[in-house]
Symmetry: C2
Subunit: 412 residues, 2 copies
Amino acid sequence: MENLRISGERLWASLMEMAKIGATPKGGVNRQALTDLDRQSRELFTEWCEAAGCSVSVDAMGNMFARRPGRDNDLPPVMTGSHLDTQPTGGKFDGAYGVMAGLEVIRTLNDLAIETEAPVEVAVWTNEEGCRFAPSMVGSGVFAGKFTLEEIYAATDPDGRTFGEELEGIGYKGELPAGGRPVGAFFEVHIEQGPVLEREDKTVGVVRGAQGLRWYDITVRGRESHAGTTPMESRKDALAAAAEMIAAAESIAVSRPPHTVVTVGMVEVRPNSRNTIPGEVYFTIDLRHPEEESLADTGERLAATMKAIAERRGVVLDFEEIVHARAVGFDPQCVAAVRAAAERAGYSHMDVISGAGHDACYMAGIAPTAMVFIPCADGISHNEIESATPEDAEAGCNVLLHAILDRAGTAS
Amino acid sequence: MENLRISGERLWASLMEMAKIGATPKGGVNRQALTDLDRQSRELFTEWCEAAGCSVSVDAMGNMFARRPGRDNDLPPVMTGSHLDTQPTGGKFDGAYGVMAGLEVIRTLNDLAIETEAPVEVAVWTNEEGCRFAPSMVGSGVFAGKFTLEEIYAATDPDGRTFGEELEGIGYKGELPAGGRPVGAFFEVHIEQGPVLEREDKTVGVVRGAQGLRWYDITVRGRESHAGTTPMESRKDALAAAAEMIAAAESIAVSRPPHTVVTVGMVEVRPNSRNTIPGEVYFTIDLRHPEEESLADTGERLAATMKAIAERRGVVLDFEEIVHARAVGFDPQCVAAVRAAAERAGYSHMDVISGAGHDACYMAGIAPTAMVFIPCADGISHNEIESATPEDAEAGCNVLLHAILDRAGTAS
């Protein structure tokens, strides 16, 4: 059993075939949730799964489950999967790799006629990306009880169409209730979307959990005035104050290694005129850390530092937390199963913390969960040039196979 | 002659009447260049000037000249004036005060039947603001030979209409050539548009010149990446680099008192997304100083500092100077005439340097020129709440009267 290997070639061929649906001229994929392209990708997935002997069911969120029966079908299934939707300028691997890897595991079990104790299911979660309909990860989120069906159905895209209408429109509003059934374990394999594995020259990331996240909205109000006629000492320059705050946010993050990351991604200056001293600046902070305590502590330090800068400069500060997603720790046994699988297969590996959110983060709330990462070139994702190697894709899938076998058990 | 005074009441009434054309609900004026409102203000001006016995001519730029003959009409005229166009959310005083003050001088000379040696002209310069058609100060600029008629005619507004068409459209493309005739002296009275006179509690600013100005466009290119998955040490954050540069620009200005002013007024972040590390940031610098040497030196220091920051951070810097308006020193004799007039009238006064550009800055290139400033509330201009007092408006106009008499001479 320990020498079992999936077919890297077949996995890669399936990935490349799936990437044709919504392919962009620059080599990426634009296959946003609940579009006709999303429907096409679901149909291809169904066709492949049925050919592999699975039954495919769809729940009220459009989540799909391809099921391979086990010896004891009363056991909760061991589940794997990810998503098929992409960003508008997404790549071939984000999401699709995790789904295709699940399918490849099933094909491999079929090839070798291995019967598992528990059934194995490959899930396709609806609208992981959240770019057309916010928020993200709603398929797994509803399944895990984090959102209600009603609130998600009511979400609208930029053209005003609702999620519920569009889900029905592509024919994937299923009969099954979304969630409410036991899952034995959940594994998700994904590209890292960061540079650590590549930098450390490791093939497999054993994902121990996901960072917590806090989002802040900051507004600095000074006094708009003429750039030529207002002496430096008479200014209340909202942008000069914001620049000092943005520099301080970076320094705070750097002073708390190794896991603290702080990003100011968005800035709006008003009136944003070359010869007017800015009267108001809005900017955002994205703060992440694997531990809740550190997250809270850094958040307080950011707030206090910005308050001090604002007071010293005589500008008005509005510092508001708008999102707090708690840090997630994955199941130690599932994590150990992943680590052991990588170890046995002889892949170089390291423990990592996911910087991004994944469907697995919600699944961790209702089932023992872990993730497997593989490197992606330059850590780039959500980009048409997103890239991973066939060898790494194969390695991640082999680790997934053995982690699933570990949790599902073999009947023979 | 020394006790001559203009009528502050009549001046104020004319100012308030003119401010009705394009009046905004917030108490300001929106009377942009070459609009129908601009036409209305020109017609009112013409009506008043003709009633005061002046002939009004219009040149090919739409510049208007109300002429009161002197004893010797072969002498070049002593000219005063400013502009009647405003910013979209402009005030009642910027420009209009200088024109109405010129008219009030003529009315006063008429009341007292004073004949000047040289003729006196009140100029209305077309499109000083430059907000509808860039650049600014083109009426005086063409008159002084800084621009050609053709290039200015070709300028377009945001709707694609050309300056030439619109000037013709309001009926003010005149027959006279723009410029090319001698001017004996030029005086412009204006609100300060800055806080210095108010802060120093002075009624009159004797303007010795105008600051030089350098405008820079700066682009910082880093590497766009995921806010959650990119460790601090792997980042090339274009915004963190720009924030450090913006803070440094302010420090450099503060370290070079009293006249150096540096403003970053505009920032554009790309992709400007909350959870993406910015890959590119564009920002502007507006640097001003009354002396060219200091301006050049500060410009070099800004460039060197930003280059060092970019190199240390491994981001790419593009630092480009796009405008260099040289510092202007006004004519010492005209400046002395202004100072003496303020002195004799018993007004508190101080020498100042104009922070903003004015039509007088171009006129200084072809005629002995000076300016008179009066305070404006909180130094605020280009704003509907722009405000000045009747007493200060009267004082500035009295100074203007005596400076004009000094240069035009009296025939009696």
